[in-house]
């Protein structure tokens, strides 16, 4: 009997560096990993693909990769501290070893997107897979058209990749729109002065917001900023990732702007265990997020039960 490779066994990877992305009750850190054992050949993966990351002795989590294969032989994972494994991971230090297996999932179908413009809409930690896509697109800049990046967070302090995105905003090559949430009162957003340097979008009718040339900071929910900026849908792929509510509203905004379901892509999250389509829990009807996804077009999702749950 030939012995088959055990797909559950992770390889050892070393934490080369740790970067704090944001603090607060749910801090995010980016871990830069490299293989600890031979062969140390770089991971080959598509933007939007995932890995299973183990803190051995605690557990394993399914994570979107936050970097692109073109970034070199190091892999970056941005992790929010929310549960048991992510807490253990946040307690690790540079030089320590974690387990890694993958890549898993389908990733973004970038080969078919040559020549397209992009609208990337991310909220919170949902920006991680979009960063992977953005890095890939920037590495092949000539293959793609205009790029508009929308990214939202609760506050400027809670915004991940802020330095990187602001530096990109300063470049002329892509348009970046960063937004922070409204301060909320009992009856919804408070119409008080927004944080300095983060002007409000028009609350009742975001489309009427005047966007100054070069303005890249806003106060408002991400879909409202999309409304205010009103990106064009021609030859454009829109990709959104974030909290389910944000995705839902962003898709509505995109549809108002004329995007068709086959132009809109989302990368989904579910509770995962095995990562390889065996354990059963991440199903959307007959499909598994871990193997059939996590990237789905809006067109696919419309046909899948529980896709918007």
């Amino acid at each position: 009997m030939t012995r088959m490779a055990n797909p559950y066994v992770p390889r050892r990877a070393r934490i080369e560096s740790i970067r704090d992305e944001c603090g607060g009750p749910r801090p995010v850190r980016t871990f830069r990993l490299a293989w600890a054992d031979e062969p140390t050949a770089p991971f080959d993966f598509l933007p939007g693909q995932c890995v299973e990351l183990s803190v051995i002795g605690v557990g394993e989590i399914f994570l979107s990769i936050a970097s692109a294969a073109e970034d070199g032989d190091r892999l970056e994972l941005s992790v929010m501290r929310v549960g048991r494994v992510t807490s253990a991971l946040h307690a690790l230090e540079e030089g320590e070893i974690v387990g890694l297996r993958g890549p898993y999932g389908n990733g973004f179908p970038v080969a078919g997107w040559h020549g397209s413009n992009f609208v990337l809409i991310g909220g919170g930690i949902g920006q991680a897979p979009l960063r992977s896509l953005l890095h890939h697109v920037l590495a092949h800049r000539d293959d793609y058209g205009r790029i508009q990046v929308f990214h939202g967070a609760r506050s400027p302090e809670a915004m991940i990749y802020r330095d990187e995105l602001e530096a990109q905003a300063a470049s002329t090559d892509l348009d970046v729109y960063l937004t922070i949430d409204w301060k909320m009162g009992d009856d919804g957003p408070l119409d008080e002065d927004a944080r300095e340097g983060w002007p409000r979008v028009a609350l009742d009718d975001p489309v009427t917001t005047e966007v100054a040339p070069g303005q890249f900071r806003f106060t408002g929910f991400v879909p409202q900023v999309v409304d205010a900026v009103s990106p064009s849908c021609g030859d454009t792929i829109a990709v959104t990732c974030g909290p389910p509510v944000m995705i839902g509203l962003a898709v509505q905004s995109l549809e108002r702007l004329g995007f068709r379901p086959e132009q809109i892509y989302t990368t989904l999250e579910r509770r995962m265990k095995c990562g390889i389509g065996l354990c059963g829990r991440c199903n959307l009807g007959p499909q598994f997020v871990c193997t059939d996804g996590p990237v789905f077009s809006q067109q696919q999702l419309l046909a899948l039960p529980e896709a918007f749950a």
Partner: protein, 352 residues
């Protein structure tokens, strides 16, 4: 190959089988019955052997897909670890006394665990070379409905050998190469109690099959179900249907085709195991994300998922993933009746 064995010689047959391979047989254990390994030296249980009457309450899936199985062992060091892969199971497993519904259950498990995406190595190695010796159900249990889901009390799908109870004897027929090899080996043993089948036993066999088919007590017409499920997903009926459910995992753990599992690290000191443990889609935690979001917060949604998975999404070779064994009905702690629910779903017409 076909052979016949006198009922009183079944013990001798099992003793021969146990000498050759790792043999598992269904026995009454105070908990309604389950498959246990039978060592060649052990006396064959007489009263407890569950070859007539009802099937073992715990299906044989646990022999090949253990409720708890280690994926690998590890040792923790300061900021590091090492992993020890565990040797795969080498012994050939023979399961004697598998009911035809459970045999079909393995076909569903095969499609899920040796599937297009990945292969579970523990299941694959346990399944490799395994021989499923089925025994037909002369007297189906009180909630059996195998004939409604494409099965039969003497169905052969998934089995390697089928035994038919002729009262004073068992008629054995091999169905696959694996079954043929096993049956020949048993027949070739020095003290083999097998005798060749003859036209008379074949005839009695056919009669037994016919008779048993008429004894399957419960029926449900699945024909209209698929069309209803097509549009019933967002219907409000699911919360009503699940009203009596208490949200335990009895139905899924006793199901011959459920395979969902959890993965956990279990550590003692600096050593531990990463284990695969059965999980149930009926548990709230099953889809509960660390961040607090749960895509299936209500019992009705979890019920709906199981229902669709058995009758629509999990369909395999044109048959539902439910094999009609009736265990989830008979042993539901809150008296929920799957057949009743199928009928209520059909009746609702999916009028969303």
């Amino acid at each position: 190959m076909k052979a016949v064995i006198a009922r009183e010689d079944v013990g001798r047959l099992l003793a021969i089988a146990a000498r050759r391979d790792e043999l598992h047989v269904p026995v009454l254990d105070g908990g309604g019955g389950r498959f246990v390994p039978l060592n060649a030296e052990d006396p064959v249980p007489r009263d407890g052997l569950m070859l007539n009457g009802s099937s073992a309450r715990r299906p044989p899936k646990e022999v090949l897909f253990a409720q708890t199985a280690p994926l690998f062992a590890f040792e923790l060091r300061r900021g590091d670890f090492s992993i020890d892969e565990l040797p795969p199971e080498a012994a050939t497993k023979v399961l004697f006394g598998v009911r035809p519904c459970d045999g079909r259950g393995f076909r569903v498990l095969d499609s899920l665990l040796l599937g297009k995406c990945g292969t579970d190595p523990a299941y694959a190695s346990a399944r490799q070379g395994s021989v499923l010796v089925g025994i037909g159900c002369g007297r189906p249990g009180s909630d059996c409905f195998c004939t409604s889901v494409g099965g039969d009390p003497h169905g052969t799908d998934g089995l390697d050998v089928l035994a038919t109870d002729l009262g004073d004897a068992l008629h054995l027929e091999s169905l696959t190469d694996g079954g043929e090899g096993w049956l020949r080996a048993i027949a070739a043993a020095v003290d083999s109690p097998l005798t060749p089948a003859n036209p008379e036993t074949d005839q009695r066999c056919r009669e037994a099959h016919e008779e048993a088919r008429g004894r399957v007590p419960r029926h449900v017409d699945l024909e209209p179900l698929d069309a209803v499920l097509e549009r019933a997903f967002d219907d409000e009926l699911w919360d009503d249907l699940a009203a009596a459910c208490i949200g335990c995992g009895a139905c899924t753990f006793l199901c011959p085709t459920c395979r969902c599992f959890d993965v956990q690290d279990e550590v003692r000191g600096d050593r531990g195991l990463r284990v695969r443990v059965w999980d149930s889609c009926m548990f709230r935690e099953y889809t509960q994300e660390a961040g607090g979001h749960n895509p299936r917060p209500r019992r009705g949604m979890r019920w709906r998922n199981r229902f669709y998975d058995k009758f629509r999404w999990g369909a395999h070779d044109g048959q539902p993933a439910c094999v009609g064994c009736g265990r989830c009905i008979t042993h539901c702690p809150s008296g929920v009746d799957l057949i009743d629910l199928v009928e209520r779903v059909v009746e609702s017409g999916g009028a969303a």
